[in-house]
Assembly symmetry: C2
DNA sequence: CCAAAAGTGTTTATACTACACCCATGA
DNA sequence: TCATGGGTGTAGTATAAACACTTTTGG
């Protein structure tokens, strides 16, 4: 037997929700769709699953095509399968979300795709069910970041505590007490204080920190509690 | 335009990891596969996604075919896409996991499929990548149950605290202090004490409780802390 | 010298852990 | 009457929350 008979084959797509942080705000990378239908409308970066690749490989290929970057944090989010989600043809799409450091890559954007960073809360109309995908990704980001230290993926090698706090406050759309925030952060043992200071946002300057990468890899698999109960969900 | 051109269509399958609890142990519902290849080997219950259904609908249809039951807790787990996961033909499978009360349904099993309940830790060899699916489902069950009160889905309407504790201990393969466990449980406000007692497992008998369904629906969306940090993951 | 952001401690309340004895009953 | 499992309380520790002043320095 070479095939299953009597079953219909379908298109499988992969769409990437790409989050970035510019030091102040959380942003979403969108492209102007080249294909019809909905040509020139804003859309997530996506593509079709190829015969010789897994979904993970496909998502990484797509991310690389658009941004030129590889090896970033990426996880499978959800498969979307509404029958008419793509008006042209039945297509099931598996959404992935990725976290990248904007600064490292903003110059690498591939112009061919007319990509742009959008503020996450500035609701841009997207094609198909891409808005559902973004909503779910945002929910998942909050969920995950409340328990695991994944938001470091959005920061450059060197970062300051106030930057980190801005990031968490952006993700949860909430304000945190900086004393309690700093204490929690330090209690993880994940941060290493560096010599220099970042003076770009104050006269006094804020110390740079970097991640203790060894501990980071271990702790990713375990729970943390960055965010208080009430704030874990909106 | 009626179709996307130049893209290959593929088979999409849905496989269901069905967990049950018999009052003592957590079990997994497996079937003897009717189709070749691997005919007569044990397998998850699965099927192909049909043109007129979403993945959620497909998973529910498959569950109903096998067990006759509907309306149980079910969530999408993950899409599995290894290129040769099915040796016959490239097939991407979306796994779902379901929680059902064994007692309510054990008589409804459809004999056509030679279904049987297996102890979760008794490692039965499964076809394809179904063991990966089960492992991931088990991990997800632990993750979710540490934060949300989903394990009630495995119990009948009326249940006792010791049953509930057996259930949690089974899921986490750990022992909990019954005083602390009871206190945590009661502090959720989700349980309503009933008149009768279950005398099937002791002479004194244990009080029956039922869920406060209204509060349950609200709390499912929020965090709980049934399990201590150390035990959230194995 | 002063505006603006960085950095730092203490107190209180809540939640978690460890731990041991009495109760009810059927056999 | 006794073996079996069910039910209950407390004290100590750890974690989280609320809260305000001092430091640094470029302009």
């Amino acid at each position: 037997m070479r095939h299953y008979s009597g079953q219909r084959r379908m298109l499988l797509a992969v769409d990437c929700i790409i989050f970035g942080f510019d030091g102040k705000d959380i942003k979403l990378l969108l492209i102007q769709r080249g294909l019809k239908p909905e040509q020139n409308k804003w859309s997530l970066m996506g593509g079709f699953l190829q015969p010789d690749e897994t979904l993970d490989e496909s998502a990484n290929r797509i991310l690389k095509q658009l941004t030129g970057i590889e090896g970033v944090y990426m996880e499978q989010l959800h498969a979307f399968s509404n029958i008419n989600r793509d008006p042209i043809e039945r297509t099931v799409s598996v959404a992935y979300f990725a976290l990248i450091d904007i600064h490292q890559y903003e110059t690498q954007l591939n112009d061919e795709y007319h990509a742009e960073w959008f503020l996450l809360n500035k609701k841009t109309r997207l094609i198909f069910d891409h808005e559902d995908m973004v909503r779910l990704a945002q929910k998942q980001l909050r969920y995950k970041a409340a328990l695991h230290p994944i938001l470091f993926e959005l920061l450059p090698e060197k970062f300051t505590i106030p930057q980190l706090q801005d990031l968490y406050e952006g993700v949860y759309d909430a304000m945190f007490d900086k004393r309690n925030f700093t204490r929690k952060l330090m209690s993880t043992g994940l941060l290493i204080k560096m010599k220099g200071k970042d003076k770009s946002s104050s006269k006094k300057g804020a110390y740079y920190y970097k991640l203790d990468k060894k501990k980071y890899r271990i702790k990713q698999a375990s729970f943390l509690n960055f965010v208080s109960k009430a704030e874990k969900f909106l």
